[in-house]
Amino acid sequence: MSKPDFMYVIYISTTPQKLWDALIDPEMTKLFWGRHRNVSDWQEGSKWEHQDYDNTETVDIVGQVLESKPPERLVITWADPKEADDESKRSKVTFEIDEFFDAIRLTVTHEDLEPGSDMEQGITQGWPAILSSLKSLLETDEPLAMTTRRWDG
């Protein structure tokens, strides 16, 4: 059984459906996910792409939808498009949404990352900022400034 490399938990004052929608709505991800959009029909077995919001031909992450149970659980594979054919470079991200007392808990786990890779480094810097900004956007309509711009060149 594989063990997650990273696990992030955040409590957000929202509803499971709003949180699910925020993960796949380009107008929302533009604001909290570094001006990117996530494109797929979100059916199990479908492909998904993490595209530049303004230039959709620029694809930074690609993968497959492994599980999709709106608005509770989404499992996707995650790879650099240049390395997508190499199974050892493919990692897996799980989003779990559940109610916890009066808040909604979002748990993000990332597993099968290649140790020491650029991807691993980007991930560890990226997720906490993205999740804090998502919370801020859902609770106050204001994302955090650092996530409204692209990070890389």
């Binding site: 059984m1 063990k3 997650p4 490399d5 990273f6 696990m7 992030y8 938990v9 955040i10 409590y11 957000i12 004052s13 007392f101 009066d102 808040a103 748990t107 786990t109 906490p128 900022a129 999740l131 804090s132 919370k135 801020s136 955090l144 400034a145 650092m146």
Partner: protein
Amino acid sequence: MTTDLDAIFRALSDRNRRKLLDLLYLDNGQTLTELCSRMDIARQSVTKHLKILEDANLVATTWRGRVKLHYLNPVPIGEIYERWIGKYERKRLKALNDLKLALEERKDEQA
């Protein structure tokens, strides 16, 4: 529900709990037994400290079979960063942006 800052700072105010976070930073996803072997306090104390860290959402846990794994959850610390540092950075960026606009306007006037 807002992040409970009191719980976070209380959790961070103890040397052993900070050490536990450091151990998870170095090797994320450890069992209680692994953590205990790296701490020089009783297993029972480690359990107590982990509970406090978990309540403050600084440690997240997941089960793999019969094994409970502990992860460093840096998200609340990011929220502290945003409250006392990020906000000020935003103001500075705005000031720089205003300066840029002002300079560009002057250039337009000179042209």
